[in-house]
Amino acid sequence: MRVALFVTCLIDAFFPEVAKSAVRVLRRHGVEVDVPRTQTCCGQPAYNSGYREEAREVAKQLIRAFDGSACVVTPSGSCAAMVRCEYPRLFADDPEWRPRAEALAAKTYEFSEFLVNVLGVEDPGVTFPARATVHASCHMTRGLGVKDEPLCLLKRVKGLELCPLPYREDCCGFGGTFAVKMAGISAAMADEKIDHIEETEAEVLIGSDMGCLWHLGGRLSRRGKPLRVLHVAQVLDGGRE
Amino acid sequence: MANGARDARREAFLNRVAARLGKPRGRRVVRPDFGPLPPQAEEQLATPAARAAAFCRALEALQGHASRVADPSELADAVRAIVRRHGVRQAVLWDAAHPALEQVEAALGASGVTVRRWPDGGTVYAEACELGVVVAEMAVAQTGSVVLPARGGQGRSVSLLPPVLLVLVDEERVVGTLTDALRAIGQRARSGDLPACVNLVTGPSRSADIEMDLSIGVHGPGAVYAVVMNGSASREADGR
């Protein structure tokens, strides 16, 4: 099987190790990985801020980039939700682009969703001894409806002790530009999330969206809290950073 | 406001609604069939006795008091217990022809309680009473609710002003679900038999406005008793 990796701009620029891990994990499960060179961003920052015209132009760029791919995998619940839920709506009145948007939406999968539901992976075959808790990001759980897939995989990682996170599905306060526009409220939300994480006494925080983890990691760092923050792909890659 | 001005405003208002919706005024609208309600567990309560038992459980779960009686003497016992527990000296009863009301009236009288039928004594008397007594037109097993329509001497105040409420319930009148009760009310309403006020009363008055701390009896009755009379009790009371 051959898939195209949609890296996402945030991972591309700030967290390339996440994408490298995703590539290694996919390959380990017998998947050939392509990375179309002309991909950039899904347009979500513009869309969520109300810049629909900008979002459309950016979306067209992404649709073009993946035109030749049969299946697209992305290590981001939020970007997957943007493509799958919002692209068809974004081009609802555009007879030329709507089918192309729908086609991309139909072939795009979030990373853990792809492993579990498409590849049928039950045992990721990896060891990562750590005490960890898992953050459920909003767009992935409520937008995509992908809730249990990361846990299915993580439960079978040898040596990984998973501590249930209280209020797992509460927002961490990232919300894209919200984190900047309403920084005080955003930080209060992060602090509440961090309190819940600390209750679990976990030493690693695992997530499926680098947006959330960027924000939580930055807040943890600001508050001087020594918690490791990893993407699911990195855990399935044996915890490589 | 003059009727003419009111009518003009009404027309302007409704025309505006139709215009905004892009629809012609005065068209006939048929309410679509929204399909069946999702299944509910309580629908399986097939017998009156099972429904009565479920009703009692539901009411007790809400800090109400429910009991079932088999004959008038048990009903009188239940009344005496309420009088003792709440120090009842005055009571107000619905003015209705139900025989159980007479049983209660007699039992109260025998316990030395002053009894009046609404609206005898008016609001001032009802306000001074410790106990109000009414008869449920229906009761709901699913929720522990009783249906109290206001009609003539079957006034709203009786179930509202005194701090203790006693509701008499015929076992046959316990329906399974809220849906059953509302369907019955709706049916009668459509046939023109709709009182100015129907109350569904479910347990005591409650509030959580002070620090989310549950407090009972802030405005309405703080103690609600339901006595469910089974078939033989009602028949005996009926003199049948």
Binding site: V7, E57, K181, M189 | V218
Partner: protein, 491 residues
């Protein structure tokens, strides 16, 4: 350039964030409500099917609102009531004031009604010299405090018992203990007197059943019953959208509302009022007036926001909203707070005044998921934001930022170069650990609260080009047994 409303939202939010008593109280209430709702949903079963049914009924009703309003008005009049349609706040208030004047009313008792808050009705009646008493315990508390409600169904959740005891003691003229039973007893005594003396009772309306002209009030304390039983006149005020076609539809709504609001199967009281008392009735008001209010609602019909009129005012969206949890209801500055407030307030009160509210959301969609009639609240927030952009009211810097963003990310080569430049620009600002902490310029929004890691030395796409291809080529080479399992060395 910031307007005063913007500054004041920010200021109010900041104040709320600093108020730990408030935040603890809101958290506790929210916790109780949302847990109750979850349990009630599970207990009923098939919750999603109930929601879909609720949505379908609300949609049909609003799509045919003119028909059902006319049917309702005809039936209320058949029942002996008087119906008034009010296009504006002014018309609604004027009518109530006129009735109060004609009745020579000296005291009015009110049971909780959000629409009357919206109309600022108390102010108008008080100006007439009428004594207005809010009788819902929570509303009574905030009336004494001179504050607006901070939650749709629990208006005083921001007050603790010590503050409540102080307010009540002031009325009592003596120090009252601050335990709940004592405070409740005091309120009951005080308010019962008001009920007995009142000339007019004013209520809202949870649902109006068009087919029989029935106003349905859903309550727990019993004050709505007292308000509609003791005074000789009852005035019910309803937003024009609070209507259901039939009793069967009311049934569905009664399955959704209490469960979503407080986690109850049903409230202590559901009171169905069909006109004034009948001739033979021994109690109840002699006159019944229904005021049907537009006040900006009709402008929502036929727009992208029409679904917001499906709202049944359960407050479930407030109870799951993380923003509401941290700032409480007053910070919004509007009658309706939380997610529903963020969508509705700019529609009713004007976007110019309330343009910041749609941005006070992380778009986490907990509200849309909680809504018992499936209003896509977070999507409507994006709709508001889009409209602001279309109207050109967003700040200049933001507009240019997104123009620049578009220009860059639609040009892959330029995007790749920009990513490389980002590190070079930020590197001088980083500390020894490679973290940017300085709070300057556009960075400030982020770094005021969090550390910013530097962009990677090499972006993934650059790495892929350099290493990835080699690695892919290696994979196609024939392997020997001795080689590592995945044959990887790089990264």
């Amino acid at each position: 350039m910031r307007t005063s409303a913007e500054r004041s939202f920010a200021r109010r939010a900041q104040q709320a964030l600093a108020d730990s008593t408030l935040r603890a109280a809101v958290r506790k209430a929210q916790e109780r409500f949302r847990t109750g709702k979850r349990n009630a949903e599970a207990e009923l079963g098939h919750w999603e099917a109930w929601r879909r049914l609720g949505e379908a009924i609300r949609r049909h009703t609003i799509e045919n609102l003119d028909f059902y309003l006319e049917q309702l008005a005809d039936n209320v009049e058949k029942n002996g009531g008087t119906v008034v349609f009010a296009a504006t706040e002014r018309e609604a208030v004027d009518y109530v004031v006129q009735v109060a004047r004609e009745e020579g009313a000296r005291r009015v008792v009110k049971s909780k009604s959000m629409v009357s808050e919206e109309l600022h009705l108390n102010r108008a009646l008080e100006a007439l010299g009428v004594d207005v008493v809010e009788t819902d315990l929570g509303e009574y508390i905030i009336q004494l405090a001179g504050e607006p409600p901070s939650h749709i169904i629990a208006p005083s959740i921001h007050k603790n018992r010590r503050q409540i005891a102080e307010l009540f003691s002031r009325v009592a003229g003596e120090a009252l203990p601050d335990d709940t039973p004592s405070l409740t007893r005091f309120a009951r005594r005080q308010l019962r007197r008001a009920f007995l003396e009142a000339d007019i009772g004013i209520t809202g309306c949870n649902f109006a059943v068009a087919e029989t002209g029935t106003i349905v009030l859903v309550s727990n304390e019993g004050n709505a019953r007292l308000t509609t039983t003791l005074p000789r006149v009852h005035i019910a005020i309803m937003g024009a959208e609070r209507i259901v076609p039939t009793w069967d539809d009311l049934d569905v709504m009664l399955h959704l509302l209490p469960r979503s609001a407080t986690g109850q199967k049903i409230t202590s009281y559901v009171t169905a009022i069909s006109g004034p008392r009948r001739a033979q009735d021994a109690d109840g008001p002699e006159a019944f007036h229904l005021v049907i209010v537009d006040n900006g609602r009709l402008d929502i019909l036929g727009t992208a926001y029409q679904d917001v009129l499906h709202c049944i005012r359960c407050g479930a969206c407030l109870n799951v909203c993380p923003v509401y949890r941290h700032i409480g209801g007053h910070a919004y500055g509007s009658v309706y707070s939380g997610p529903i407030g963020k969508v509705l307030t700019p529609l009713l009160g004007g976007m110019d005044e309330w343009h910041e509210l749609p941005h006070a959301s992380s778009l986490c969609a907990a509200c849309s998921e909680a809504c018992p009639v499936r209003i896509p609240l977070h999507e409507l927030l994006i709709e508001h934001r889009t409209e602001q952009v279309t109207r050109g009211t967003r700040p200049w810097a933001e507009r240019w930022a997104f123009r620049l963003y578009r220009w860059v990310v639609t040009r892959p080569a330029l995007y790749r170069r920009a990513v490389r430049w980002a590190r070079r620009l930020l590197a001088p600002l980083a500390d020894g650990e490679g973290k940017v902490r300085v709070q300057i310029g556009p960075l400030k929004g982020w770094t005021a609260q969090r550390d910013l890691p530097l962009p990677a030395r090499q972006s993934f796409l650059d790495w892929w080009e350099e290493e990835g291809r080699k690695e892919a080529a290696r994979q196609h080479e024939p392997r020997t047994e001795g080689e590592g399992r995945d044959g990887e060395r790089s990264a």
